[in-house]
Amino acid sequence: MPDWKPLVRQRLALLRLSPEREIEIVEELVLHLEAAYEDALAAGWSAAAAEARAVHGYDWRLLECELSRLERPWHPPAQTVEWLERRGGMRMESLWQDLRFGARMLLKQPGFTLIAIVTLALGIGANAAIFSVVNTVLLRPLPFKEPERLVLLRETKLPQFPEFAVSPANFLDWQKQNTSFERLVGMRPVNLNLTGTGDPERLRGLSVTEGMVALLGIQPQLGRGFLPEEHQPGKSNVVLLSHALWQRRFGGDPKIVNQTISLDGQSYTVTGVMPATFHFWERDTELWTPISFTTQQAQNRGGHNLSRVVGQLKPGVTFEQARTEMVTIAGRLAAQYPEVSTGSNVMLMPLLDFTVRRIKPALLVLLAAVAFVLLIACANVANLLLARAAGRQKELAIRTAMGAGRGRVVRQLLTESMLLSLAGGVAGLLLATWGTRLLLALAPPNLPRLSDVSLDGRVLAFTALVTLLTGVIFGLIPAWQATRPNLNETLKDAGRGSTEGGRQFVRNGLVVLEVAAALVLLVGAGLMIKSFWRLQQVDPGFNPDKAMIATVSLPKRKYPEEPQQVAFFQQLLEKVSTLPGVQSAGAITVMPLSDDDFVLGFDIGGRPPLPPGAGQSTNYYSVSADYFKTMGIPLRRGRLFTERDTKDAPHVALINETMAQRIFPNEDPLGKRINFKGGDKPDWYEIVGIVGDVKHYGLAQQTTLQTYEPYTQQTFSTMTLVARTTGDPLALSAAIRNAVLSLDKEQPVSSLRTLDQLVSTSIEQQQFSMLLLGVFAAVAMLLAAVGIYGVLSYAVTQRTHEIGIRMALGAGQREVLRLVVGQGMRLTLLGVATGLVAAFALTRLMAALLFSVSATDPLTFAAIAVLLLLVAFVACWIPARRATQVDPLIALRAE
């Protein structure tokens, strides 16, 4: 005997009768159907035919309509046969009707709708936010004229140096010999002390060769760019101001052009002010000055000081053509000047690629991660829709029975899912605007182009596309499932036979997918966290606690002689080391981890000079005697510098352990002599000690060869001060500034920060990626847990009857728990296994982001799998507990 009850009840549900009335009517109608069915059987009809005859008696539309009129006379007259027909989809073809009906269906279940929209908003919002960053940083063209024609050039000297700055002589030869570029512009950073108006200030600037304005196509807002003759020695004391500097220091004075300002003690004539939107290279660049090469500088092939050379391709010349030509030129120059250029070549890269290359791998990994989050969100919503479709199965079957084609019903269901995703998309966009702001607040300031991030048309289009796809992805499965069963089966089965089995299969599949995707994300995040933890464990070679650093740059005009410079720093160190709380103070030319370096080639005394191109080079530092003590760099052998290592005393040097091992593998370096190339005549320094290694280029980087000389013997005008204190280092900043000003009231201090800040700044990009990936992984895990919980809760509801029977037959709580938890954990295990395989394949793509952790680190994989299993277990436990609360009697009666 078919079970008619669900069929009738489902139909009447649309009428929303009072429960008591519904029970009566349903019971009566079911009795009628049963009697008709039995009579047909008795008359000799087959079971199927008997069923068909019994159902035949049901004119659903009429019944619904009549009952509606009868039971709910207050209902608006719209509820006619026609209206019901339209609901059934027999005539209605207009999308508008679909939308209205879909919206009504969604509003009927506000809880479901809200959960679905929030889930989708999270997924879509995260995608939109990350994509807006990707869009701005990686996709949006650089804000210059014809940016696609801009190419960056650097020198290379493989295998040691994949790239480095260009020497002036090479640059000039490139300019002269190439036919591919409209123009080549060389540039290097320059820091200048601005004095005269207000507090002295150290400004970040850029020195450029001829043609910057033409190259970038950005005209000054006021005044003009540099004239060709201003790139001649003696005529180059001119300056272009940034809009920000002009506003900040000169109050936006419109008559600033042709006025003079004091930079490094020299007067510079302002030629113009760049527009506020103009940023190039570093965002905080505040002024531009012309580079002028003296005859001697123009012949310098060994000193590489043009950090960037940017070229503008001639119209019609491709990047490849330009590269081929430049490689030929570089080869020719290397052959021409073997003693300095053997092995040298040139590297070309589109300017955009160069600008974003460091951030690109992290962004792509993040983009993939949010896509996973969205996938999981889709699986969750699809699951919700499937559960909901199960409740609506009769409604859909009846619609199909009434003549609505399968396509028609799919369309209706897709309309509903599209409505959901649309709402999710709008909410997601709101989330994205907010999320992007949060992202920017958290992002390290030195990431390129990040401050330009905004939601533009492309982000909107992307979000719309994602929203649309999302709606189709999570809507199609339930729609396909819901319309699959044929009418008779559904009516006969009352929803527990093969169709339900099929649906459960899909639901289970979605859970497996969710768990797998969550695992991939969690493994990715786990690897990042482990990598970051390892990075933080790396000994930088010095003690970053409770120390303050500050850079002082003496203008050459004011302190032209080395003894003056030495005297200044000597007095400053004395002043600072006697400040309250200060234990010791030292100074160095180039601070480790400061994004700056000074590299020199060298010869060792008593060894034959190496053939051209085979020379070694070392990081070079000039330091005060107390530098090592202040930084906490240990002395391994020999002695440190002392006050007695003056200019007139024998010249001495210190090397690091790595250099001792690599350059002096089988001998004692102490007493050996070292000479740096580049001087006119050899200047030999005796190695008197070996100190600990220091990470110069970053915690994740290899330790380089390092050599120190006393600043009293090798003097520089720019030094970075380090002061170690017993208290809060930041409390020292004012005192240090005052100490400098008390020696020279025009002398600015820059880069005042703690040593700790310096270290954390050097790893903040990794920290940022780790943070984002961790957040996405946490969201993914939460969504997956909710998915498992949802599926099991539903399964428990579906199996209440069965569980009731089991308990009636003597199954204890323990067995029921095992039954339900077992079901969930089987799915989870399958998902974890799938996820492990996927993660194994995918994490290799993020190897570039990892430090000291293998992309397939077994410990991380295992730990994440266990974590996910635990979370899944909790998600299983709750519905399982509920299952044990089933009262067998109630469960049985419910049927």
Partner: protein, 118 residues
């Protein structure tokens, strides 16, 4: 196109008016349940009059609402409970009135169109 529609409408109205009387008549002598009523109408009319549940039950409910019949759940040992409908005094009155109306109607039909009621 108008003629068939008119016929249909008339047909509907006659059916609706007459079925009410048919049901009242069937529960006149003793209470009956819905399926029994439908079967009896079909049998006694030799299949000319057929009732779909869709129209039968709403009609029953309407009659009950109007107080012409009264439904009651009856439980018998070994059987599922069924709802039986019996005629109320008000129903009796209406049935008598309707019988008279239909008798007058058929008399008129016969006189005009020479139709003999069965």
């Amino acid at each position: 196109m108008e003629a068939p529609a008119m016929t249909n409408l008339l047909d509907k109205e006659i059916k609706r008016g007459s079925t009410e009387m048919l049901i009242l008549a069937l529960v006149e002598d003793r209470p009956r349940h819905g399926y029994e009523i439908a079967k009896l109408i079909e049998e006694r009319s030799d299949g000319v009059l057929q009732f779909h549940v869709a129209s039968l039950y709403p009609l029953l409910y309407r009659l009950e609402k109007r107080g012409l019949i009264q439904g009651r759940w009856v439980e018998k040992a070994g059987e599922r409970r069924r709802r039986f409908y019996k005629l109320t005094p008000a129903g009796k009155k209406v049935l008598a009135e309707q019988r008279q109306t239909w008798a007058d109607f058929f008399g008129a039909l016969e006189r005009v169109a020479k139709i003999k009621p069965a």
